[in-house]
């Protein structure tokens, strides 16, 4: 895994913008609901994430953080 994202599942409102704009199509909706009743965003294809940050940029609720393995580009 060279990069990953962390989603705040309780803050996520399931708008799907991160899913739509992920160039690697690695985000999907959870099967379960969060406390507010939304399916939240989950990084399912963990090895495909490049840490490009487009999901972070599109998230209106600022509930995504991106992480990268230092040294690997």
């Amino acid at each position: 895994m060279k990069a990953t994202i962390r989603v705040n599942s309780e803050r996520c409102k399931g708008c799907g913008l991160c899913i739509e704009f992920c160039p690697r199509q690695c985000i999907f909706f959870s099967k379960q609901f969060n406390k507010s009743g939304y399916h939240w965003a989950v990084l399912e294809k963990e090895n495909d994430c490049t840490g490009c940050g487009l999901c972070f940029m599109m998230c209106p609720d600022i509930c995504i953080e991106t992480y990268k393995n230092k040294g690997i580009r």
Binding site: G16, F56, C59, P60, D61, T66, Y67, K68
Partner: protein, 245 residues
């Protein structure tokens, strides 16, 4: 792994009250990033509008005051004139800035007040349930134009950047959008330039951000983003409208 992108310091770690997919959250994040990058958080005073962003004072991690509907430019004028060393910006919707507050907007620009305005244009009154705004497009269906806006009855969408550009006091006016990452990056550049314009003492600036209101428009978040791209920005062309810096 090292953390790369995360919540800017100028945004409190609280949940936003906006509807799923609403552009206001993206604009908040961009503003907070610009304030962080310019290191002006400690001297910023913002003026929040009446509209969906009425609770902006709960979200931004700097001083924010509230103004009556449409009056942020007048309140910001008073704050900036009495505290010229502070950084002062207003955050306003289209109903706030171009309907009830049109006079305050025009006169603040005409006086060349050294303030910055972030104008979130979502083509309707979001907070009150999706009525027509001055910026509603011709043919756009809203609560108060159920058959679509008809120019013979309701006039034409107001292009605020172009309108203000004829005033000598306007220094920097640009229209941007947030419907994809590329445009989000442009919006960030524009807002930073507008903020720098005030820091350099050059005068009045306004950035009009074309934004989505999925609930007011009765669309899903993705449909609303698509509508911005395919319809909205065709009526409201993006770009710099006035630059006298």
């Amino acid at each position: 792994m090292g953390k790369m992108l995360s919540r800017p310091k100028s945004l409190k770690n609280v949940a936003l009250s906006y509807c799923p997919g609403c552009g206001h959250g993206i604009v908040h994040r961009i503003i907070a990033e610009c304030i962080d990058e310019l290191s002006i958080r400690e001297k910023t005073i913002a003026v929040a509008p009446v509209g969906c962003a009425v609770f902006a004072y709960d979200y931004f991690n700097f001083d924010v005051t509230e103004a009556p509907h449409g009056r942020p430019p007048a309140v910001a004028t008073g704050i900036k004139r009495t505290n010229p060393d502070k950084f002062v910006f207003t955050y306003q919707g289209d109903g706030d800035i171009a309907a009830i507050g049109m006079a305050e907007t025009m006169h603040a620009a005409n006086r060349g007040e050294n303030i910055s305005i972030i104008f979130v244009n979502n083509a309707n009154y979001g907070m009150t349930g999706g009525q027509m705004a001055p910026t509603t497009l011709i043919g756009q269906v809203t609560d108060t134009t159920p058959f679509g806006r008809n120019s013979k009855k309701e006039g034409y969408p107001i292009k605020l950047c172009e309108l203000l550009s004829v005033l000598e006091g306007s220094i920097y006016l640009e229209r941007v959008s947030i419907h994809n990452p590329k445009n989000i990056i442009n919006t960030r550049k524009a807002i930073k330039k507008a903020f720098q314009c005030q820091i350099d003492g050059k005068g009045f600036s306004m950035i009009e951000v074309i934004s989505n209101c999925p609930v007011g428009w009765s669309m899903s978040p993705l449909e609303s983003i698509k509508w911005v791209k395919e319809v909205f920005i065709k009526s409201f062309p993006l770009g710099v409208v006035c630059d006298k810096r």
